[in-house]
């Protein structure tokens, strides 16, 4: 049976089977127990961060190093509001606060060339936690944040819901006028400007939309942490993860960052405990290699492999036919 043909002729059947497996998997979440639930939550968080990062930076080419700023703000929002509002409203609030923050940041820096934008977002990750630490020390006198613990399974389902919303939103944005405008900015900003696209507005708006999901992800994750503080919540690691994951998976496509985020989350949670140093070292090497040799990421490997495999199989069959002809 030819593999390429299997995929094309039975595509619908395969897709159905995959969906049924996925739904069964999702419905059985409560059965997995604490540690696996935590791994799944992390995978989803990384996928959301990577998707929203790639939505803006992957398409426009403006490299944002700010995800941790929005993600941490989401965690902080939950801490501040947890005793006053129900979680769904907190999640929306965290998204909105991140949105406003991103608009302010975007208005200051996105008029400038890409390099200044990157520098600014890079320092933001150091800036915000220091301000929060100062405010906490001076005003509230509280150090460290404790969360009302929620059942992890509920958090997992909420995170899954958020991930689905994020995928849908990004899918729709990519197909909209806004998405096209973003792509043309990534291609050639000057030309886009001449075509009548308000480039600054497009950049600020999409940057801010991407921040919504990052902030919301932080807000959902917070109740599973039990303890956090500004240094942990705003850790620069959360800015690096989406970039690493998105580049690894392939930042040009919709599915690339999802695959990259899920995979990175899984590998991190299963390997990092024992292999922390070597794990990050390995990922550094992979990033360099991917940038150099595989600009479309891991997702880009699929068609290449499929073609190669299909080609090899048909060659082998031809070879065998040729042999048979020779024999007769």
């Amino acid at each position: 049976m030819n593999i390429t043909r299997l995929f094309t002729t039975h595509r619908k059947l395969l897709l159905m089977g995959f969906l049924i497996l996925l739904i069964a998997f999702v419905l059985t979440f409560p059965l997995y127990g604490g540690a696996r639930t935590r791994v799944l939550i992390t995978m989803l968080v990384y996928a959301i961060l990577a998707m929203s990062w790639a939505m803006f930076s992957g398409t426009t080419g403006y490299m944002s190093l700010a995800p941790a700023a929005f993600f941490g703000t989401g965690i902080y929002t939950t801490y501040l509001l947890q005793n006053h509002l129900p979680l769904p409203i907190i999640i929306v609030a965290a998204g909105l606060i991140s949105f406003v923050l991103a608009v302010l940041l975007g208005l200051v820096t996105l008029r400038l060339k890409g390099i200044y934008f990157t520098i600014f977002t890079f320092g933001l990750v150091v800036f915000i936690p220091n301000v929060v630490t100062y405010v906490e020390g001076e005003v509230t006198q509280h150090h460290g944040w404790y969360f009302n613990v929620l059942d992890r399974t509920i958090i997992l389902y909420t995170m899954l819901g958020l991930a689905v919303v994020t995928v849908l939103a990004i899918y729709l944005i990519r197909r909209s006028r806004l998405g096209l405008a973003m792509q043309s900015i990534g291609g050639n900003e000057e030309a886009a400007e001449h075509m009548g696209i308000d480039t600054t507005r497009t950049k600020v708006l999409t940057f801010a939309i991407s921040a919504i999901f990052m902030g919301a992800a932080g807000a959902v994750l917070a109740p599973s942490l039990s303890y956090s503080n500004p240094t942990i919540a705003y850790s620069a690691f959360y800015s690096f993860v989406p970039i690493v994951a998105a580049v690894f998976g392939g930042m040009g496509s919709l599915q690339g960052p999802i695959v990259g985020g899920l995979l990175f989350g899984f590998l991190e949670k299963t390997l990092k405990v024992e292999w922390n140093t070597y794990f990050m070292l390995g990922f550094g090497i992979i990033i360099v290699l991917v940038i150099l040799f595989l600009p479309t990421g891991m997702v880009g490997l699929v068609p290449i492999l499929r073609d190669k495999l299909g080609g090899a199989i048909s060659k082998w069959r031809k070879g065998r036919e040729g042999e048979q002809h020779a024999n007769t």
Partner: protein
Amino acid sequence: MAEAERLLGLITIGILAGGVYGLLAVGLSLQIGVCRVLNITHGEFLMLGGILTFTFSQLGINPLLAPVIVGPILFGLGFLLQATLFRGVKARVPSPSAFEGNALLAAFGVMYVIQYLARIRFGTQSLPSQYLTQPVPYVGINLAVNLIVGFAIAAALGIAVYLFLTRSRVGKAIRATAEDPPTAELMGVNTNTILAVCFGLGGLLAAVAGTLVSMRTPVSTAMGFNNTVIALIVVTLGGLGSVPGSFIAGIIIGIVSMLVAGLWESVLIVPVYYAMLMVLLLVRPTGILGKK
């Protein structure tokens, strides 16, 4: 009166410490301005410079002589990075405008590689690398000798780089390459070599800055990131591609950090840098001495 003396003391320390920031920023400014690489591994080069200085001092080599060994090593590393990795990235990008982004992402991978290789070799603990800590009395406070020596070395090296860029043949080639690479190429400049030299020079300057920092504070393999942030802020403040600008901005940042830490609260140092940067970007996006 005592208050005025204290202020003067803080400002003096700030100026002296700022010289090292300036030196660090000059290197980064070259890499961004000429090679077009937003080199976020710059702080890691400083870290390597500091750690290697400490390692050599354990072997009996005077920290003041360490730059003679550490400098060339990191020059070589920077040279190789540009000659292989960033040149490769440039050759493979679909359009020239995509280079900056892809180079940043590649630098990102390199940052992890350097940092974690250093961790495997040297661990994560702080290493007591201070040197020349004898105090020198000065208007009511004590300045450490390493502060004064550090400033002198940084300033001397800064002047040397400035003269190299403005007076020498290679410096001229570097400036031509920064301005217009294709034309420079037509004039017989081997731009690939020039870019690699530039990147290596940036690495060398970061290494020396690392040595100077290691004389004042303990070093650790985790120190790179914060220094990258400081270097980026100084470069932006000073204006890309301006050696005097980098030094002026470095000294401003040094003074501000001492004043904020001394009179207010040290967590607020970076936020204050940030506020300055934000105002500057709104008023004058090209930095203090940067060209259009």
